[in-house]
Symmetry: C3
Subunit: 368 residues, 3 copies
């Protein structure tokens, strides 16, 4: 069956007809350090994608809910939450980089630039920074890429590196191992200016009163109280992002060879719990955020499946200033996601997501 | 686990870190008669929310389907069906009023004002009219609130009272029992004026020909023929409304203590069958409606769960005039929702929803 | 129960109340050759419907993803993929033509006209071309209709014939068998003109480089590598199209009389696999398409159910020119959909969809 037979790539003459290869994406042996992919398609943030994906993640931030509020703060319209920005850029890279991936290993130095609003069109490209064959498993290896997303005006909205474990198409094929230097890629975290003539206080009731920058202290731990089960909806959500990786949607492929796939069932695309953990944390740490600034590192520490209820915690590690913005402070946090798994009679807490996250949060002194 | 441990609200010092409380919403002992909540966030009716929620409910009313038709009648764009208006206002009140609710008991005097169209932004506030501890169960009581939703121009789109059963955070805490008077809250049911120069008849084929006001008689009973199963989609639909009540989405919480929760499984948020019953009835009684006017009373008479197929019936109780609008009549109806439950071999019809509903319906004399 | 008791259509006096008939749609005995239905409602293509339905189908065509790209090609905005156009027109005909249908038998001569973009409002009408009672089964027969959809400017966007098997309401009722001539219904396949001053090549990286017209040869067979499971989401997708046929959403009705219904479970509305097969094929044969031109014939060769993973193949049967458009060629293809069904231990490939499909594809000579 074509869907699980990714090895055959040349035209096979089968009697009178020419079977054309249709496998998409690249295998490990096809990557080269320094290679650049200008990803296909691009993506316009319609009100459909925006609403379905934003509301799925349980964010409470009013910038993503209330257009009047967003415009009163100087944004062009409803503002995409960070998980949606990440997913729209990331998913464009899937076909070229990870359609034949086995697992996403790490996000590195994810930096946010210009805010993304409803109606924007985002296009992305990736550069291969490293290729490495596995020393233990001859059918796979690791690809290290840097991906950047830009809006219709050419402004960078997101840039990050990631490492992904990729299958080989042919275990015997040689691999072009090596590294290439990262490009100098300036990303400017940009927000509408603070304008003392705007009456921010008139809208202060639209956000929680106890999540201004002054309310946080180093050492605070938030066990976010809300949880949210993931259903088979994850298949459609992943499709809405144009993420076509087969491990998220091809039930038949999984059923044919369950041992080959993590967990032996459709795995939830990592961008789903990524977004959901951000959203679950938002009432406690990001209700008064104007944006996420940077994720130093992040990884999926265990897979998620339909039926899992996801929870999140946030540790406040540090408090900083944002240069040029005395109205804002930066929360340096660790966001963790977890689920519970029954083993015998007992329930075990399993961490599924880890993210070092810096958030730009309003100061009460300026806004309330 | 944080999600089921709502009692701890003060900071707990746990060695070097400060665990911060994250439980949202209020418990019975935190309500005070006369208290006013200006609810957080607000909600812009995007085309995403509009399409997903409106089409889910199976309404057939062309005002919510066909923008040309809506504009030809003088509306600013596609018109939100009454169930969506109710849900957008109601859900904004959930965190403050019923995030820690056990059951919604009654809707009272729900009145519609200015029509809601795609693109509108709705904000809401609630006043506590009454607080009462349960005489039988010391861990719960009833909160009575009045909620009003307004659009971006300050016009009232909906106002209603509701009674909700709320958990106590601490069974021993004193409860501020008492009542407060309802505010005088004029709600003006507003529609675009009838304009004899508009060629309504040219579009009459877009609605059914046998549902004009003249077609109804007191005593008519409609057993609406369509049914619609509710799937786990209810979790995402509820999330799209920003309704964060955990009993609709936190599977793990339910699984830990099923006896505590109605039915021992995720309960479908009442706004879902509310909307669905309105939609199922629409081809027979509201296909030629220009709007719902008022719901004198309504209640969920039994819970709904994923897998239930919902049906509806409408009784015509009375026929009235709408002052100043000779082109319209008011149907005074009772809308009931039901499902079937197997007990042993037999199927039992179970009523799940009851609503006293007044609908403003076009007269054939003016429109067809 | 009303939902399965479609035979009673006259008012039944039941004591003091009048039970009003609510069964929708027509039964075989109600159709007349030559009869014209101006379908109710119409449908505006909101960004919500567009995003959910388009992304569900896995199309990769950038015209449906990237507004900047679509506008650079001269379209008014994001372009609805052919499966969405077909579904929006088709679904409007369901209540009148096939709400009481048992199976959709054949699509005939489906021709595309003016492109459909986000924001368009589509209205449809159908003419009965034939009515025929079954010679073997006295409770059903076949209705043959021609349906045409037009946009807000009166331009034809789609026209096609279909044959559908329809239940009789009363097995003893006489059937008006006969035929009526098809109307002369010119459909002009329309695209924005090729404009050599536009810099198409600057955007060539947004589509795949190996799917220009020059890349195809008669006899090529594409086994499209991606598969996509259909979940219970099909119920909501069908509802979003305003397709109210009960066999897709009324679980209780099916459970009461499983033998009466294909497969004994909720059947997936044919427009879902229709769209999905088009989408699954798009990266290989339609990534550089500007539109589908015509489907000579199509049929659902087996039903689909929730849980089925759908795959598709395309055979290239012929290569043609498009009069007046030297920048384009026409691929004459057969698109087939299939799923796998376990019988005992072995998996059997079952064809579920067959479509003779002509696609207008860009020539590399003009675009890359």
């Amino acid at each position: 069956m074509a869907a699980v037979d990714g090895g055959a790539r040349g035209p096979l003459r089968d009697g009178p007809v020419a079977k054309r290869p249709t496998k998409h994406g690249n295998f490990l042996e096809e990557f080269r350090p320094g290679q650049v992919f200008r990803h296909k398609r691009g993506k316009t943030i319609t009100e459909g994608l925006f609403a379905v994906f934003t509301d799925f993640c349980f964010t409470t931030n009013a910038l993503a809910k209330n257009r009047r509020y967003a415009e009163a703060y100087g944004f062009r319209g409803l503002v995409a939450p960070p998980g949606l920005v990440m997913n729209v850029v990331f998913s464009q890279s899937v076909e070229d980089v990870s359609e034949n991936g086995r697992a996403n290993l790490e996000y590195i130095d994810m930096r946010f630039g210009t805010p993304v609003c409803v109606g924007d069109t985002i296009e992305a490209e990736s550069t291969v920074l490293g290729v490495k064959a596995s020393s233990r498993e001859r059918d796979r290896g690791v690809v290290h890429v840097e991906t950047v997303g830009r809006n219709q005006d050419g402004q960078v909205v997101l840039a990050y590196q990631r490492k992904v474990q990729v299958w080989k198409g042919d275990p015997d094929a040689p691999v072009a191992e090596g590294e290439a230097p990262a490009r100098a890629l300036p990303v400017s975290f940009t927000l509408p200016p603070y304008d003392p003539r705007r009456d921010y206080r008139a809208r202060a009731h639209l956000t929680s009163s106890d999540t201004y920058f002054e309310d946080f202290h180093v050492g605070d731990v938030f066990e976010h109280s809300r949880g949210r089960v993931i259903t088979t909806e994850h298949i459609a959500l992943t499709g809405m992002l144009d993420n076509t990786s087969q491990v998220h949607c091809n039930q038949w492929m999984i059923d044919q060879d369950p041992e080959r796939f993590l967990g032996g069932q459709l795995i939830v695309y990592g961008g789903i719990p990524f977004s959901l953990c951000l959203g679950l944390s938002s009432p406690d740490v990001a209700d008064n955020a104007l944006g996420d600034v940077r994720y130093a590192t992040g990884r999926h520490t265990a897979p998620a499946f339909a039926g899992d209820t996801v929870f999140a915690t946030t540790d406040i590690r540090g408090l900083g200033d944002l240069p040029g913005r005395p109205d804002l402070g930066v929360l340096d946090t660790v966001l963790r996601g977890h689920k519970f798994v029954r083993k015998g009679g007992a329930a075990e807490k399993v961490e599924i997501f880890y993210l070092e996250r810096e958030i730009a949060v309003k100061r009460r002194s300026h806004y309330a």
